[in-house]
């Protein structure tokens, strides 16, 4: 099973590639919209990319909408990983 650190690294890797971001900017406190300059369309694509990468569904819309920072995203995905274990 993937460790939490491996998951974080993978998230940074795939989102950096998808959105042409510098991984150095994708620190836990970075906000997706303001710091990383993503928008609502990018949020849709982020879900597509993460579902494909980790092979689990990101269907909790309410929790998805509450994600503000990279760390929020990491915690959400780690929870999903643990639930699917």
């Amino acid at each position: 099973m993937m460790s939490d650190d491996e998951l974080r690294q993978k998230v940074v890797e795939v989102l950096a590639a998808e959105f042409e971001l510098d991984p150095a900017d994708m620190i836990p406190t970075a906000t997706l919209y303001d710091d990383l300059d993503l928008d609502s369309l990018d949020a849709v694509d982020m879900v597509v990319v993460l579902e494909k990468t980790f092979a689990f569904k990101l269907s909790d819309e309410e929790r998805l909408r509450s994600i503000r920072t990279m760390d929020d995203l990491f915690i959400f995905l780690i929870d999903l990983k643990n639930q699917s274990a």
């Binding site: 959105f19 042409e20 928008d39 369309l41 990018d42 849709v44 694509d45 597509v48 579902e51 494909k52």
Partner: protein
């Protein structure tokens, strides 16, 4: 009849020779063919034509941010780069572009064929929309070029997107002429775009109108030649800034030429076949609006794509509407039929002809079809006194368009 005189003050091109007007013009003047063999099309069942004039690969990341590129298929990308070049060439600053007096009218045959194929590949073969990204619709919508250009340049005037295959750009120039001429807009970015794709060439292949000279790509298409065997599809975008003469003069802008007549008629005869009388009617309508007679036309730039029926009908139409002595050439031999971009890319070369006072010949025309020789078919670069010229474009579906352009 427009109230304001309408002039062209900027040009931008992405062509089968690469990025920018300068390379485009240089390659055409040097008589280079942009046609290539696309080997992988040979693996498609039934595909006989393996020829195209694609835009060479380039790195778009240098030119546009991801936030814009994500909604663009190749054709919208071409249109946006051409539009930026045209706006810069015209010297339009940000305040002018974003003030509401400038819009865009940019057409294409469809939305991006590449994006359409990718989207329907997911949808049909996987029976799922789960892997479809948010930008895909914006690449395939019919107004993908105009929407993306408006967003990239901050245009807040009128947005239009004529979609009529081979006359998309001709209609765009005509509509821009009407909008600026009527005073609704001070300037418009006008033109069209298309991309090469097997499904596009396949349309012509199915109706036996595609060139199949796969062994000699640089010798085809050959408009007006007795051995012509059909169309080669090309890609790119041509965009021009149309502006009122008063605005251009007030800005001290360079002026490439004036659009002084737009003929635009439907033939209602056949969904695919050309119709010489309707072609002639479009040319005559444009000339009447410009107030010129056949003897005043110095040159006609033909639509002539290299099909047996189309070239013949057009030669007859030009002889009837203009004269049998008028010089005529087609640019399809150089860079194929760029479909939705054709009217604009070809007009950019026309403006250069006006500037250089030279007529570019039809490339690959070595043995003129006697039946097309009812006009003066130009076979070599020809110095000429050019003031008033006619530009033709015709489309499947019965659209016949002609512009009269005058040096100013």
């Amino acid at each position: 009849m427009p109230l304001n005189r309408v002039v062209i003050t900027g040009r931008g091109a992405v062509s089968p020779y690469g990025l920018g007007v300068d390379d485009f013009v240089d390659n055409v003047w040097q008589g280079h063919s942009a046609v290539k063999v696309i080997e992988e099309w040979g693996e498609i069942g039934g595909m006989k034509s393996l020829l195209a004039a694609p835009v060479p690969p380039f790195n778009a990341k240098k030119s546009l941010p991801r936030s814009l590129r994500r909604a663009m298929g190749p054709l919208a990308l071409y249109a946006t780069l051409a539009a930026k070049e045209a706006a810069a060439d015209a010297g339009l600053d940000e305040d002018f572009l974003t003030g509401g007096e400038v819009g865009a009218v940019i057409g294409s045959t469809t939305g991006s064929p590449e994006a359409l194929a990718a989207l329907y590949g997911h949808y049909l073969f996987d029976n799922s929309i789960a892997a479809i990204k948010s930008g895909e619709f914006f690449k395939i919508m019919g107004h993908s070029c105009s929407a993306n250009v408006c967003l990239a340049l901050g245009l807040t005037g009128e947005q239009w997107a004529p979609s009529s295959a081979c006359t998309s750009a001709a209609q765009a120039l005509g509509l821009g002429y009407l909008l600026v001429g009527s005073g609704r807009q001070q300037a418009m970015l006008c033109g069209g775009a298309d991309e090469t794709h097997a499904s596009v060439t396949g349309v012509f292949d199915v109706v036996k109108a595609a060139s199949c000279r796969n062994d000699t790509p640089n010798a085809t298409p050959s408009p007006f030649d007795v051995k012509r065997d059909g169309v080669v599809c090309g890609a790119g975008s041509g965009i021009m800034v149309l502006e009122s003469l008063d605005s251009a003069r007030a800005r001290g802008a360079q002026i490439y030429g004036e659009i002084c007549g737009f003929g635009h008629v439907n033939d209602s005869e056949h969904i695919a076949n050309p119709h010489a009388r309707s072609m002639a009617r479009a040319i005559a309508q444009a000339m009447a609006e410009a107030g010129v007679s056949g003897s005043e036309i110095d040159y006609v730039n033909a639509h002539a794509t290299g099909t047996e029926q189309g070239d013949l009908a057009e030669a007859q139409a030009i002889a009837q509407a203009v004269s049998s002595s008028v010089p005529v050439s087609s640019l399809k031999g150089h860079f194929g039929h760029t479909l939705g971009a054709a009217g604009a890319l070809e007009t950019i070369i026309l403006l250069e002809m006006l500037k250089r006072q030279e007529i570019v010949p039809t490339l690959n025309l070595t043995e003129p079809d006697p039946e097309c020789s009812c006009v003066d078919l130009v076979q070599e670069m020809r110095p000429a006194s050019l003031t008033t010229i006619v530009k033709n474009n015709f489309a499947l579906g019965g659209v016949n368009a002609a512009l009269v352009i005058r040096a100013i």
